[in-house]
Amino acid sequence: MSIPEIIQQPPGTISFSTPAKNTLLIELSGFWEIGGKSPSAKEVQDRIDADSTISRIIFDSGRLLSWDSTLLTFLIRIIDICSTSGISVERDGLPRGVQRLLTLACDNLDKKQVQLNVPAESFLARIGEGTLKIIISSAEMLDFIGEACSALFRLFMAKARFRGSDLALIIWECGVQALPIVSLISALVGIIVAFVGVVQLRIFGAEIYIANVVAIAMAREMGALMTAIIMMGRTGAAYAAQLGTMEVNEEIDAFKTLGISPMEFLVIPRIVALVLMMPLLCVYSDIVGILGGAVISIGMFDLPVNQYYDQTLNALSITHLSIGIIKSAVFAVLIAISGCFYGMHCGRSASAVGDAATSSVVTGIVLIVLADGIFAVITNAFRI
């Protein structure tokens, strides 16, 4: 006999007999364990359906070798089937442990049933509830923005209170520490714009104008937009997670009950830090993007360095740069508001912190793109 045959356990089986009129005896045998083979309750259902005279079920577990939750779920299913068919189930023939666990589980299932009896909401009710949630959430967002404006006003009046050291730390985190990722993405965006542009311009023999394309694209659009998207994913999500964790740990409640405004102490430094840092990061992104474009144009397409430099300077104007910088300041406010709002309105569980971070990033990016579109319309209307 080979070793696998020795350790193989006999599967769980059932057999039926009718020791008395109207009585079905189910004999349980073998190993009823998770991962092993065991019969389905459907066999019992079929047997009951085949004989309509059955009004009582009894068990014999004399040949049952081992059992776990597999047997219990099988028995609960049988009890369920029998209760709907009006058949009584006698548990005396089952092992004592199984009987006790069945009693416990059935008691709790009854309680669960009570909770489940609450009528299900209709489709329209759910739509209505969803709409109300959106309205309430929008009202909360407006309330939050109003509070933030009021706190910013207090800041300008030198009445808002927060720690300078906190502001310095937040500036460090959202400014200096963001430089590597902003450098990488901006350089790549500059390279991509240059690569795509130069191939098209070459058809018309106007490769040198790629300097204008890269400079204007980075200064007006890509510098501000890419920095904003990076900062939303990086810093906005971090704000939501930080404040969300503070909410979970009751740290925000501690501020409120000590008479310290969480809006002034936590939100305002974050808004101020981002509004200060984002325009700087945007200018930095513009420079790195233009350099990235230059590397490709000069290195791969042999454009003269002096000519490229002159074209870039000619193309760049204060207007283009200003539009990018103003946009980045607006994006900074949107990122900070979005991150802080979801953090401060986070639930009280670990998963709620994740949800807050996700919601803040999704909302933030939508707001950024929306604001960028509005800027495009306004600048076009004023022919800037």
């Binding site: 209170r161 740990n249 009751e250 409640d253 409120k256």
Partner: protein, 260 residues
Amino acid sequence: MTQTDTQIMQGDPHIRVNDVTLAYGNYVVMKDISFSIRRGEIFVVMGGSGCGKSTLMKIMLGLMPPVKGDVFYNGVNFWESSQNRRNKILENVGILYQKGALWSSMTLAENVALPLEEHTNLSTAQIREIVSFKLSLVGLTGFEEFYPSELSGGMIKRAALGRAMALDPDILFFDEPSAGLDPVSARVLDDLILELRESLQTTVVVISHDLESIFAIADNSIFLDLETRTMTATGNPRALLSKSRDTNVCSFLTRGKPCS
């Protein structure tokens, strides 16, 4: 003489909760809760998990408005007062949250110092002295520069108590003080609560379902019944244990044993 002073002299209770109903949306957690807490009393709000003890505390602390009813501090209606007045009332209240709620980005010294910096005109040196004193009261001398993440659960609770006492409040709230603590640390905290009451005559409100702690410290208590969703008993827990005929109160105070 202020309105508050007059009312104290007239013998108003330190805190009075009048006919309060707690609810989340349409779900009523507890209704018709009324009780009074005398000055210098250790008052325990007891009841099973999920019965609304912490929600009641939130309402008493201005973190959540009641659906119905009023909360009075020294006779002043808390929820009808302006936000500034409420903040002023809360300056006299210290809170020890269930998980400590120490600000994780600050050291222990900074945690205790912040309320002092915000609400007093003390110099940095004076604040430092007070911080050291408060931390020594809770047995954490030498831990000033530690961050909350570097401390054990018991130490966090004690440090949080140090912060709660920073402004020498008249009232201290404790939300499940013994939750998550080993028996010895829980006992240390109970002794500290008794000591504070004896030495400072502080009014203490404790939210708890820890029987050992309740019997050790409580002068007076109320029982919130999850089944009837209202307050079903009030009095000293030992007296309730011997006299109460309410099955749920007996069951709670005897850990589910049948009432005698």
